[in-house]
Amino acid sequence: MVEFTEKLIKKMVLMTMVVFFILSFVFFNLYLRNQQERKNIKMVQYSIDTISYMFSQDEIDQLIRGDYDFKKKFFLEKINLILKRISHELHLHEKDIFIVRKDKKQYLKVFVIDRAPNLKGMEKVREVNKYLFKKFKNADNKDTEYYIFIRKIGKREKILFSSLFFSIIIVLIFLLSFLIIKKMFDKDIAFYNKIEEIIDKRDDENMILVKEDDLKFIVKIKEIIAGLYLIKKRIYKSVYSLKEIDKEQVVIMLNSLKKEILEKKNREEEIDFYLKKIGSIEKENKELIKAMEINNSREKVEEFLTGIKTVNDFIQKIESDLSLINSNFLKTMELMVSIEELAERSHLLSINATIEASSENENKRFSIVASEIRKLSKESKEITNKIKADFSYLKELIGEKAIEDIKNTKKIMDELIVFEEFFNGYFDKQINITDNIKANANDSGLISKKVLTSLNLILENIPRQEKTMNEIYSVINLYIKYYEIIKSDLEQTKKMIDGVLKNEKI
């Protein structure tokens, strides 16, 4: 078995080495070529002058416009001449230069000269051109019209050697790593080989070889088994004792505890209800005590009522006086209107007098009289306006509104007087009731206060008891949980130990 696996591993390693070698060779070959190509690219710019040496001006224009017919006679000869010149300048062989015309739009003005045998279609040229075009863009060559890019490629043999060298190094690294891993696994393989040998030897019944170490090992195992027996006994005992505790009994106990707590809560509610009742009784008592004080206020109310009566009489007098004043006001207002009319007339008259006086035929003395009349009429008009304003203000103050207000107050006073009889009856009733209640109220107040203090004490204690009960309940619940867990665990260990002991016998 081991031999077979070793052979298989060796084959696998060989295969992977070969694959690694091929892959690395191809990769390095491509990579190095690409690198070298890029390094060896040279850009040489040629102005129009060099090309005009071979082409006429019309032909150059055609080239710029892109209309040049490349199939023309002598074109290739001319190009060849240019190439010769370039090759001479760059010390190149003629066969190493090749000319390609690029796209009409972008690269019409660009000639790419490449080594002929390495070209595989236009793609490669495009790549080179793109690379060159980037360079060309960055350079300040807006004035020049024609550019010729020349690409030199290094020797291929160098690339081949270098790629071979790198691939061999990679394969060697792989081999080294494999050898290290193999050494690491060799120890384990030796160990397993030993075990196999022992198994082979046990097959023969006569051949039993027991060393000192093995004997020690067996003694230790026997000690462990004895310990296990002890554990077994103890577990049996504990399981038996746990079975004695009846789970149902505990549950019944807990339920009874719960019931007690609930009953206590209900009692609390009852106590609350009674407390509220006592509160209401106390309030009633307070009101009754207030009612007793009313007796003293009766005299004050009677005084107030007599005062109202005198005020009512006085208001009646004011009302009659006001009505008289109002009638007089109306008369004076009528007089005022007639005075106003008179003033207006005198004003007009004065104006007409001045008109008369101003006429050329009249005497100058009359004009003086007319102006005096005008002044008089003005003054009288002003005075009447003032009197009118004052009267209207007075009318507002002592007019119909005032009479209405007094009437309203009178009504209110009448209503107050009607209340007198009601007050008298009410006070008589109150005196009888208060005398009876006064005696009871003091006693009931004292009793209720005592009851309140005792009940408050009870209420303070109830939440504490509830807390402790809840704590006990939660602890018992935890105990039940642990009990079940321990029970299941013990049964499992019991089974395990039984199994172990059976094996020992075997």
Partner: protein, 155 residues
Amino acid sequence: MSNVIEILLVQLNNKIIGINLKEIREVIPYVKHFRIPKIPQLYLGLINVRGEIWILVDFEKLLFKRGAKIDVKKNKILITKHYDRQISFLVDNVEDILELTVGEIHKIKKEGKGKECFIGEIYYKKKIIPIINLKGLILKEIKELEEIDFNYFIE
């Protein structure tokens, strides 16, 4: 004395207008007027003053293009001195008479059509009051009067 000009201040549409006193013959309280069919809207009708018949012109309608609300107690009638045309004007009230010198009457600052209907303007109680040329108004035809915007001149 010849320099003194007497001006009658007249109330119209809550505004005060001045009129030369020499153009007025008399100021009378409102007298009931009689309507006449098919006369222009400016004329309210005819009035009888001591046996003489006068045409009553609605002054508010003439100046402010708004019909007057007649108040029998307050309204006054101005009777003019131009005898060839017996015309009277209805006004709201008569305020006062002012005695002014010629220098106190200023020329009207505003320019426009109908400027010739005003003699000038005066300052009275911090207000500019235009003085109307009654003769000019009477001599003009109704169509011409209707075209003039008096509101533009009267503040």
